[in-house]
Each structure stands twice: as C-alpha cells, then as structure tokens.
Symmetry: C2
Subunit: 200 residues, 2 copies
Amino acid sequence: MKVLVVGATGTIGSAVAAALSARHEVIPASHTKSAHKVDLADPESIRKMYQEVGRVDAVICAAGEAKFAPLASLTEDDFQFCLSNKLMGQVNLVRLGFDYVTDAGSFILTGGVLAQHPMAGGAAISLVNAGLEGFTRAAALEAPRHIRVNVVSPPWVTETLAALGMDTSQGTPAATVARAYVRALEGSGSGEVVAVGGDR
Amino acid sequence: MKVLVVGATGTIGSAVAAALSARHEVIPASHTKSAHKVDLADPESIRKMYQEVGRVDAVICAAGEAKFAPLASLTEDDFQFCLSNKLMGQVNLVRLGFDYVTDAGSFILTGGVLAQHPMAGGAAISLVNAGLEGFTRAAALEAPRHIRVNVVSPPWVTETLAALGMDTSQGTPAATVARAYVRALEGSGSGEVVAVGGDR
C-alpha cells in the first residue's frame, strides 16, 4: 500500500514509517523536515499537501500538538491552540482527504491514553484525545467508498519521557506503539479506538 | 443549594429548573430570555454573568449549540461554531467559574449520547460530546476545594424530537432527563459521565 505518514519525522511517526517500510510504500510529510510539508493547523496547507501527494491507500497521522499544563494556567489561547492543531488538524486531514484515498483505504489518527485516563496537567489533551475518539466513531459511519477511520491511543512513549527528562519506567517504546498503527492499517476495523500493546 | 442554571429556558434546562425548584434556589441564565444573559461562545459574557450572579453552590449547564449535518456538508466554520459554543462554552463555564463556586460545590455539564453512540449526521456533535467527557474526567482531578465536575449524557429528548417533527417513540421525556442532573447535583461523584434513566 501507498501510505502517507503525516508527522513522519516525529518519535511515533518515524517508528511507524520504519515499521511500514518493509511491506508498504511510505510517503513522509511533516511540518518542516520532509519533502512534503504540512501545517496541521492550516486547512489550506493540508489541501496543498494532498494536491502534491495525490492518491494514496492510507493516511496515517502521528502529528498534532496539544499543551500539557495545569488547568488553572491554561489560557483560552492554549485551548484554541490544542483545538486547531491536534484536534481539528486531524479532523481536517480526514474531511479534506476523503477524495485522495482509494476505495476501502483508511485513515489512522493519533489520540492518546489521557482521553480515558486523565492526569493532572492533561485537561486540554484529555479533551482533544476524547474528541478525536468521538469524531472517529462518527466519521467511520459516514466515510464514503468503504474507507475506514480509526484512532490509535498511545500511552506515554519511552523516548518522549526520556526527551522530557521524566521517569521512563512506565513508558512504552515507540516501536511497540508503531505496531498498533500497522495493525489498524492491515486490519478491517473502522470507527475503533486502537489500544497499544494488544499484540504483545 | 443556590444553583445557577445556564440555558434555563431550553427544553432540558426548564425541566431541570422545575425539578430543582422544590428543594433548591434556582438562578436562571440564558442567551436571551432570562434576567441573567450569557453568550456561551463569548468568554467575556461568561465572566460578566459570574460577576453579576456572584457565589453559588453549583452551576448546571443545559445550553450549548452544535450542528447536526452530514459530514460531507459540514464546513470548517460549522466545526468552529460547535467548538466555540457547546464545547469551549462549557469548558469556559468551568474554568472561569471555579472562583464563584463554594467549597465542595459542583459543575454539571451537558454532553450527549452521540459521544459514544454515533449516527450519520452527528460527527461534529460526537466530537464535541466526547471532548466534554474527556475534559470532565480531567477537570475533576484538578478542581480546587473539593469542587466536583460531571457531565450528563442525555439521549434524544421527546420534546426535541417533537419540535423537529421526528419520530418521538425512541425519545426520553425532558422530565426524566432532568432527574439525572438532580442526581449529579445531590450525589458525590466527580469526573463522571452521568447516564440518563439510571434512576428509573
């Protein structure tokens, strides 16, 4: 399959690209570091990327920023940033991408464990990740031409925790997380929240 | 308890106000029809309402608009409308309201069944309602002074279906929905998605 990976240079995205490359053709896109550039917060940028890339069998998004900070310190701008970037960025990837995905192709988005298991500092991220789960369930119902829509819900990733100088003992390696995307891509489910680690 | 009911003149809100009035003091607010006016989409309007109303024991929100339409016809503006109104309107009611709620008081928001059970036409609403569930779980963890945060998840309401000229046979009467808000108000749970009908 020809798979557009948005966020292909990030921690999860590069692991996904590596996991796919043996069996699939990966087309990498990212904000600044790939041949195909895309700013998820800008619908015009998403349209332009699709016009450049053309028809693909699947779109995997491992990009999208959201702010981790105490609820009392999150501003309206912080919430707007999260909504425009990780939430609507991925919603728009789906909405604007339907015409570029082959029959029975698929979209795989990235949510996260905070959707269902909150922690202090994660209010905006919990909102965004849960919203993505709701959108995925609904969009799967209305997707044309048997196109599937799923969202992977990664836990804290070991490499991310290490980069943040945090305790990595509860982390999951990016390579393990990547397997959930491969399962979603090669499976037949739609409208699903795909847990990480189910294949271990 | 002194309870601010936002959306007090709507189908659910008026039923909630009626259900509360025997045992509690209801302070009604709504977009146009109550003494206290509030535009949920405008944080300044929310701040002004709280300054007018002052300290309360609880805030119940039964307001917030979102657009029901086929995914293919929902525009970026439609999504923004839903995010600004039903989603961030209620998030801001909580964020900006903490200082106005007494110790161990509570917020009760309104989500909806489409969060978990999608239907065609409901993609933006599923996103918003699920996002509210994620926010509620997280905000409850960080709420100060033992303040509780919950979200009621109403099914289709009989009176709403009737007003839309739709089949009412699967509807739940607003008076039944209202009992879920009373349970959330008088109970002790926090961070919960409160189902309707559990007390029948």
